[in-house]
């Protein structure tokens, strides 16, 4: 819901229903990063009502377009975060698996060595008998 003026569409207040700080803070941040924006802020009229008011004032571009662009950028940023995170976690898991395999190998090699030594000692005992 947009509350703006009919003559000048470069500033407007938007009411987002069923939203809270989760989306509003993120959108406010993205709006502030946009160089076309002179003022961007949000408020929650009452905590029991699930409703957020976002105020956008721009340097000439229609406020609605600027808000849409901010949401788009937020979405793209999220996608990027998701892909980077997934990649990092899978790489870490691969690295961990590799380290675990190496440790297994080292441990097995050590056990082999110990077994050989024990066999050697056992054979020496038999000889001494």
């Amino acid at each position: 819901m947009e509350h703006g003026s009919f003559t000048n569409d470069s500033f407007a207040s938007f009411t987002l229903a069923e939203e809270d700080h989760t989306l509003a803070n993120a959108v406010r941040f993205m709006l502030n990063q946009d160089p076309r924006v002179t003022f961007a802020g949000y408020s929650i009229p009452h905590p029991s009502l699930e409703c957020v008011n976002v105020r956008v004032q721009t340097t000439g571009d229609p406020a609605r377009e600027v808000l849409k662009d901010a949401c788009q950028e937020l979405m793209l940023m999220n996608r990027h975060v998701r892909s980077v995170f997934d990649k990092a976690v899978s790489e870490f898991k691969v690295e961990q698996a590799r380290l675990a395999a190496e440790e297994e190998k080292n441990r097995k090699a050590e056990e082999e060595e110990l077994k050989k030594q024990r066999d050697l000692l056992a054979s020496m005992d038999i000889e001494s008998d």
């Binding site: 160089p35 949401c71 999220n78 975060v81």
Partner: protein, 412 residues
């Protein structure tokens, strides 16, 4: 320091930090054409300075035109963000349920969103309605029901639908469990654990009372197909609570509990029982800087002062020692290192006291967050019931994307 009227000269107190800065400042080090922000502004922009009494510069400078006066653009364009953003996974526990990772290059506002969505908007399954047929234990009905609600259930919420007030509970939106525990007379006290909860795939067995004696007996759920058939994932893996050893109640001799519990899908915002994580917290990366060389006797005091072992002693040869910052990540901002007084004894205003020297600067890096997630879902990692933290994180980001799309659709 008082000013004398008419003399026109005000005594300014110069801090030690400024003195060392002035001593080390070399005009030849500055670039020919200054690019970017001057170093003190950059410090204000990117670090939270944790002074002895309170942190300063905590708010992030968000406005894109904040530094227009010095000709620096403060906006974060998407390309720059994509290049600079990094995720470093520090640790994943053996059972996959604990995840620690770093996020570098993202602002607090954007980061907080993930945290919000992660804790409050991710759906899970939890008991909502508890039908108590018989309860002669000392645990009251309502207390028992509240405890049942907090039991985590290992079921993937994506397979189920939300149950609203007008819907009938059926196999697509409800999971039914039964509990019948008895302690016979003569036995000792008995513990009722979650492993005694039995899944009823065919729905509720409690019969609803209706006035008409001829109609077919109706139960509290209208299940058309057994959940074992409709969900192939559960055919051989029965749904169980996440951990089998959670204590629900204790029974004395002769006590009995018989109940049926229905679990539905919900989000953490409505009630904490639907939280997908046991712990999720984040903090900014601590940065500990030694402002001056801490040598010889003072090193011992500094290293002992820190309870988290952030500092370490480095031998410089000739028996001289120096303090270094070894593990800044462990810093919990207890500020013990800045509470101690170091330095020579001086006479200030006729009283002998130790001069206060700022040795350590405690800072937080604003764009670098350490995140710890500990999920509590299924013990069986192979089944669909388990949602490890990395999967949860991806889900959270998807939910955020949906929200943005909804706003865009509304605006168009």
């Amino acid at each position: 320091m008082a000013t004398k009227e008419g003399e026109g000269e005000v005594k300014k107190i110069v801090t030690e930090e400024e003195k060392t800065f002035a001593k080390n400042f070399n005009i030849m080090d500055l670039a020919d054409i200054p690019t970017g922000l001057p170093p003190h502004l950059q410090l204000q922009r990117t670090r939270v300075l944790c002074k002895n009494d309170a942190p300063i510069h905590t708010a992030s400078v968000v406005y894109s035109g904040a530094y227009n006066g010095v000709g620096v653009d403060n906006s974060v364009k998407l390309e720059n963000f994509s290049e600079n953003f990094k995720v470093d996974v520090i640790e994943i526990s053996n059972d996959g349920m604990e995840l620690t990772f770093d996020m570098i290059g993202i602002d607090a506002a954007s980061y907080n969103v993930f945290f919000f969505v992660f804790t409050m908007q991710l759906p899970t399954m939890a008991f909502e309605k508890v039908f108590i047929a018989n309860n002669t234990s000392i645990v009251q009905d309502e207390v028992l029901a509240q405890r049942m609600g907090l039991v985590p259930i290992a079921a993937d919420p994506k397979l189920f639908e939300y149950l609203s007030e007008n819907d009938q509970p059926n196999e697509k939106n409800t999971i039914v469990f039964k509990l019948h525990a008895k302690c016979a007379k003569g036995e000792g006290r008995k513990k009722v654990l979650t492993k005694e909860l039995i899944w009823l795939p065919k729905g509720s067995e409690l019969v609803k009372e209706s006035g008409d004696p001829n109609s077919k007996p109706k139960t509290y759920t209208s299940v058309s197909r057994s959940q074992e058939e409709s969900f192939p994932e559960f055919t051989d893996n029965p749904i169980t609570p996440s951990y089998p050893d959670i204590l629900i109640a204790k029974l004395g001799p002769g006590h009995e509990i018989e109940l049926e519990a229905h679990a539905v899908k919900g989000i953490g915002k409505t009630h904490a029982k639907w939280l997908p994580v046991a712990t999720a917290w984040y903090r900014m990366l601590p940065e500990v800087i030694l402002l001056r060389e801490v040598e010889d006797e003072d090193t011992e005091r500094l290293v002992e002062a820190c309870p988290e072992k952030v500092f370490d002693i480095e031998d410089m040869g000739n028996g001289r020692k120096r303090a270094t910052v070894a593990w800044p990540r462990n810093c919990t901002l207890c500020r013990q290192c800045v509470r101690e007084n170091y330095g020579e004894e001086v006479k200030i205003e006729g009283i002998q006291r130790e001069k206060w020297i700022e040795n350590v600067a405690l800072r937080r890096v604003k764009n670098h967050f350490i995140f710890l997630l500990f999920a509590f879902l299924s013990v069986k990692i192979e089944s669909t019931g388990s949602l490890p933290p990395d999967v949860l994180f991806t889900e959270a980001v998807k939910i955020l994307e949906d929200k943005c799309e909804r706003v865009i659709a509304n605006l168009s």
